[in-house]
């Protein structure tokens, strides 16, 4: 079943090598004579581009094989083996990972190129490329790993890079705090992941701890353990993919440079949770209860984030909540066992969301790091390329047929309906309308109407070619990739789903044409409603509204951050303080201090007995003698 492909290990290694080279060079030279930016830019792009090349090679390699045998693996060495536990440092390429690989390396390469322009002039240019390369390498390990533990390497690796890149402008405390938040919240998820993986090992891991072996043994899982494993793993996914209750870090993560937001916090890393659930489809499909939890958490997250998205004023935060919301869709998809639909949405989302972020980056770049949409406006004329590409992205995000987002979102909603999850479908449709609304609120406010900051507007212009070309390419992708998985209704063949089929365990329920039509109709209607409302309110220039009542509550994100702060962060800190100031010196150490004090006290008491009068000493002797004779006479009787 498995064939080997030794170049698999090379794919993550290439960006990692790039990271090492750029990182070392930057570290050694930054204090004295920094190397030219172009050097870092070129070296930094080599790794991703080569990786993309190999991803293509791999794709065609797999394509050339019979559908059921599309598994390539490469195990360079045994990572560690203890008792029954044997973890190989192994890589596995199958249709699922090859698809992920393709778009990760493709978008990654584009964003690397874009960054050459965006980051120009930054003193830590080299460091940025090093981190970016490191991220890409970790992401590729995550995708290519042949078992949960190797996946965890990438999983944590991308988390680290996320931390490093969020706090990239580390002189400002806010940025670093955002990075800390991301890392710590991710760690909460990882806690679940590690426990889930460990539980999985004791349940079925003795016969091999890679996906294929686990899949073969998955049938013998007991429901209790199985559901526990699924939920624990999903906790990991919640952390990485920003789902309720761990979504709070992602909006803050926008503190990082915009290419980072595009690559890590929109296109790739945050979708790792979806990928992981799809990877473990053989588990989730066995326990529909766990799947339902995933789906409901997903769709509720989608709703919540969409509501927050309605009221944001920071262009990147709007996109961030939109990302959270779209991730919720994806989880709804994989939760209802429509794994290929979820993954397909990952795929399309990567294009249009990266596009939107890069576009937003271009806007921010043009306005000298202005991110408040209420200080923008009328940029359509000044930045036409950015406008048109972003418009495509926005349309795709809003689900405008026939752009990519429409098909993938439709597929998810249709699957929910087809699997009988009416509630999820209904919420999903509402969220689709909200999505269209907030997306176009952003487009209208930023690009249409009158400039709100005349000075900035006059200086604004389209970004240099190195930044606009990626926009154009992504826009092309955002427009057309949807056709790859055209459903039967539109005369397509669900090619992506079929491609993914060998990797996933899913069932395609057969439902009538009416249901399909209903789903499509609802999706289109939601889009139309949303965009109409947005146009009415913001289409012709609007001023920033005053938020009252629910809107105000939502503007403040339901005060969730404040709630978490009061519930977890402050008690945690307070508890630490209590321990180090009260418990440690006064309670834990008390027995020791008490016995020391007692000893000294008794010593002083004994000193008093040494009166120095010889008579008294004789008296002690006599008293002792009498007592002893008393004991003695007792023992005789």
């Amino acid at each position: 079943m498995e064939n080997t492909a030794t170049y698999l290990g090379l794919i993550p290694l290439l960006p990692l090598a790039g990271a090492l080279v750029t990182g070392l060079l930057h570290m050694l030279t930054c204090r004295r004579k920094p190397l030219p930016e172009l050097f870092y830019g070129v070296v930094g792009c080599i790794g991703p581009l080569l990786a993309f090349f190999f991803a293509l090679v791999l794709f065609f390699h797999l394509k050339g094989m019979p559908a059921e045998e599309r598994f390539l693996s490469h195990i360079p060495y045994t990572w560690f083996a203890v008792g029954d536990l044997r973890v190989d440092m192994g890589f596995l390429a199958d249709p699922l990972s090859s698809l992920m690989l393709l778009f990760v390396t493709f978008i990654g390469s584009l964003i690397h190129i874009y960054s050459i322009g965006y980051m120009a002039g930054d003193e830590n240019f080299g460091k940025f490329f090093s981190y970016l390369n490191l991220f890409l390498g970790s992401m590729l390990i995550l995708v290519l790993g042949n078992g949960p533990v190797v996946m965890f390497v990438g999983w944590e690796g991308v988390g680290l890079c996320s931390y490093l890149l969020i706090s990239f402008y580390s002189k400002e405390r806010e940025n670093v705090l955002a990075g800390n938040k991301a890392f710590i919240v991710n760690r909460i998820g990882d806690f679940g992941f590690v426990l889930g993986v460990s539980l999985l090992f004791w349940a079925i891991g003795a016969g091999g701890f890679d996906y294929l072996a686990l899949q073969a043994n998955a049938g013998s899982l007991t429901p209790g353990v199985g559901i526990a494993v699924c939920l624990l793993l999903f906790l990991g996914a919640c952390g990485k993919s920003a789902q309720i209750p761990l979504y709070v870090w992602l909006p803050d993560a926008m503190a990082g440079p915009t290419p980072v937001s595009a690559l890590i916090h929109a296109a790739t890393m945050v979708t790792a949770g979806v990928y992981m659930v799809a990877r473990f489809s053989f588990l989730y499909v066995q326990f529909p209860v766990a799947g339902s939890v995933v789906a409901w958490v997903g769709i509720l997250t989608a709703l919540l984030a969409a509501i927050f998205g309605l009221f944001q004023r920071d262009i990147k935060k709007i996109l961030a909540y939109s990302t959270v919301s779209q991730l919720g869709y994806m989880f709804a998809g994989v939760g209802v066992a429509a794994y290929s639909a979820g993954i397909f949405h990952v795929f399309t989302h990567a294009f249009f969301k990266a596009l939107l972020f890069l576009g937003a980056g271009a806007v921010i770049y043009a306005l000298h790091h202005q991110q408040d949409i209420w200080k923008m406006g009328g940029l359509k004329e000044k930045m036409p390329k950015t406008y048109w590409t972003m418009l495509i992205g926005a349309l795709a995000l809003a689900g405008c047929p026939p752009l990519s987002g429409f098909f993938s979102k439709d597929e998810i909603l249709f699957s929910a309906l087809a699997h009988g999850h009416i509630g999820i479908w209904l919420v999903g449709v509402v969220v689709a309308a909200l999505t269209a609304y907030y997306t176009f609120r952003m487009i209208f406010v930023v690009f249409h109407g009158q400039p709100r900051d005349q000075h900035a507007w006059e200086q604004a212009k389209d970004a240099p070619a190195v930044m606009t070309w990626p926009l154009l390419i992504l826009a092309f992708g955002a427009f057309f990739v949807g056709f790859l998985n055209l459903p039967g209704l539109f005369g397509g063949g669900l090619r992506v789903s079929h491609w993914l089929a060998p990797s996933l365990v899913e069932s395609h329920p057969h439902v009538g044409l009416g249901v399909e039509l209903l789903a499509v109709f609802a999706g289109v209607a939601a889009f139309v409603v949303g965009i109409t409302l947005a146009y009415r309110k913001f289409g012709k220039g609007a001023t920033e509204p005053e938020y009252r009542g629910f809107a105000r509550f939502a503007y403040h994100k339901f005060y969730v951050d404040e709630l978490y702060n009061a519930l977890f962060v402050q008690p945690y800190k307070a508890f630490g303080g209590v321990i180090s100031r009260i418990l440690e010196p006064k309670v834990t150490d008390l027995p020791v201090r008490l016995s020391t004090w007692l000893y000294r006290w008794a010593g002083n008491a004994f000193k008093v007995l040494q009166v120095g009068y010889v008579r008294v000493y004789a008296l002690y002797m006599v008293i002792g003698l009498s007592l002893m004779s008393l004991i003695l006479s007792q023992s005789i009787n």
Binding site: K607, Q610, V611, G612, Y613, V614, R615, A618, L619, V622
Partner: protein, 98 residues
């Protein structure tokens, strides 16, 4: 009969003990100790008779010799004490304490 000797001996011994712990004059204290030793001697002699062996007598002689030696030393001490403080009250000599 032997009990009578022993009881007398123990009474003397106890008187000696009482003297040691109650009197403050060095002389009296040493005399009390002599009393205790003599109590022992009395017991030795009586018991020697009881067992009809000479060990007791020998011991009594030894005790007397030792008592004499100790008395000699005690006198030296008394002189020293008097030289230092002019007093023979044991309570005066409590520089070493605590």
């Amino acid at each position: 009969m032997i009990q009578d000797y022993l009881i007398l001996s123990i009474i003397l011994f106890s008187l000696g003990i009482l003297g040691v712990i109650s009197r403050r004059n060095v002389f009296t204290v040493f005399m009390s100790i002599e009393l205790m030793l003599n109590a022992a001697n009395l017991a030795f002699i009586a018991l020697s008779r009881l067992h009809e062996s000479m060990d007791g007598h020998v011991l009594a002689m030894m005790v007397m010799a030792v008592a004499a030696a100790e008395a000699a030393l005690a006198l030296a001490v008394v002189i020293l004490l008097h030289k230092h403080k002019g007093k023979l009250d044991t309570n005066v000599f409590s520089l070493l304490r605590g």
